[in-house]
Symmetry: C2
Subunit: 299 residues, 2 copies
């Protein structure tokens, strides 16, 4: 699938520079482009794994781009990270040991640490994403990398997880799109390794993509996970800086019924967390709404 | 606000032609661009009211653009039209007389006619949109213009509605964005005229825009409507071909509590309609989910 891997295109137009995301959609690559005018180019390099671009945008604030695809923006990363972390961490009755694969920017780590977890391991393959995020995207981790409960490792998540059995309550797979470096994180073999690394009540959540781009991958992933886990739930919401409508995450669980988690317990624990720091996007009502899929995309 | 009005930009890049939507976002115009590669240019003209462009796209199918902004695409117009029409038509206990302002493509008309209404008036200011839609976007109206229950009038909706008092059960305002020709449809004076034209149990629904682009307009419109109508509900969902995340419609009602419509009755009537023709996006569960707003956008 390497043919979809692209470097960030920076295009001049008159006196301004534009970042142009051209790698989408999956089935008809290069027919839709999102272009963002660059206010200030903050950093650009090619790491051992990917093309990294950081710039400022008038509406989205600071933007992180990997391999030509927008990963997060300052204006809306809270939507992505709250919706990645809280549905599983609140559905699980007592999440203590958490593994995050990818997410070197630290946004998922920040949201996980709001919960009374014992330890969060963050494993990202690319040291430079972690370093550059701390240097230029401090809003994402908001100090989370300094937490005593955080263990950060630069490793291949796919290799890392093979060393564990029954070790984690939650595994969060926050990879880039299923192209390039992240392709192995979308295979059934990888999900089997995650299954093994989870405790008996363990849960997995993985980002997948939009129905428009990735409907086939969403359906394949959902099916792969349903062969391993008794309960699988795809949920969706939209992120302003991501093109093409509703964006999907898939959660899978060994014990908890994700279609009907105990919302009363979720409400209670949510209220306790919200007293310390408000949630901007996630709420138990939004959790329920996100799990409601339109007929056309029902899995 | 005429400064945001733009013609459709068609740009050459190598051997291909691209449509480029550059009028957004509202607060920082011209800093975000959506570009769609044109497979085939179907039609282009400047009518008395607006710039009209119709072309084919590999993913979105046939695309209608007015004044440089994507209005509908063949691939996802069902989301827009189902969500515009069914929440109000099912919340109202007995919708018989319906007025649609704008929507010359016929998509809203098609969805309204699925209900056992007596008559639907469609008032669009631009005869050319109606004509070109029937010629080139037949999938949108799907024969609805030929219905004996449809009355189509080429008129200014803002003028038209002043002639009526207590005449309609539902008024659907399906205008273009609050720029250019549609600006008068976003004023409190217009909403007052709609209020007067509605029967005692009457309801209004209007398209507004995304929170990212139009948060101020959404909040202003919500407040304007709340001064007139006892019940106002903003709801949201996402449309793949529209940029910038969740898109908002606002419904307002003289009698029915939109925050808690009778979902049992809605379920029953929905089931009857769905037996005749399946809904692809709308369902009572999606209705409820769409009315759930994240905290950051709560009104």
């Amino acid at each position: 699938m390497a043919k979809f891997k692209v470097s960030s295109r920076i295009v001049r137009s008159g006196r301004s520079r534009w970042f142009s995301e051209a790698a989408i959609p999956f089935r008809h690559p290069g027919t839709i482009r999102l272009s963002l005018r660059i206010e200030r180019l903050v950093h650009r390099e090619r790491s051992a794994f990917q093309d990294i671009l950081i710039f400022d945008h008038a509406v989205f604030g600071r933007v992180l781009v990997l391999d030509g695809i927008v990963q997060l923006t300052q204006a809306d990363e809270f939507i992505y990270h709250e919706m990645l972390v809280h549905p599983v961490l609140l559905s699980h009755p007592d999440p203590r040991d958490i593994l995050i694969i990818g997410s070197g920017d630290g946004g998922a780590l920040r949201e996980v640490l709001r919960h009374p977890v014992r330890e969060v391991c963050l494993v990202d393959i690319d040291r430079r994403v972690i370093e550059l995020s701390q240097e230029h995207l401090g809003f994402a981790s908001a100090g989370a990398f300094r937490s005593r409960r955080a263990r950060v490792m630069v490793q291949d998540g796919q290799q890392f997880i093979r060393n564990y059995a029954g070790r984690f309550d939650i595994v969060i797979v926050d990879s880039t799109d299923p192209v390039g470096a992240s392709t192995p994180l979308y295979t059934e073999g990888f999900y089997r390794d995650v299954f093994r690394a989870l405790k008996d009540e363990g849960m997995l959540v993985a980002q997948v993509g939009t129905f428009l781009d990735f409907e086939d991958i969403i359906r394949t992933t959902h099916r792969s996970l349903a062969r391993l886990f008794p309960s699988v739930q795809t949920y969706r919401f939209s992120i302003p800086s991501y093109l093409c409508g509703d964006y999907c995450f898939i959660a899978a669980s060994k014990a908890i019924d994700l279609a009907a988690p105990e919302f009363e317990a979720i409400e209670r624990r949510f209220a306790v967390l919200a007293r310390k720091k408000r949630f901007r996007y996630y709420s138990p009502a939004i959790h329920r709404a996100a799990c409601t899929l339109p007929r056309v995309w029902r899995l």
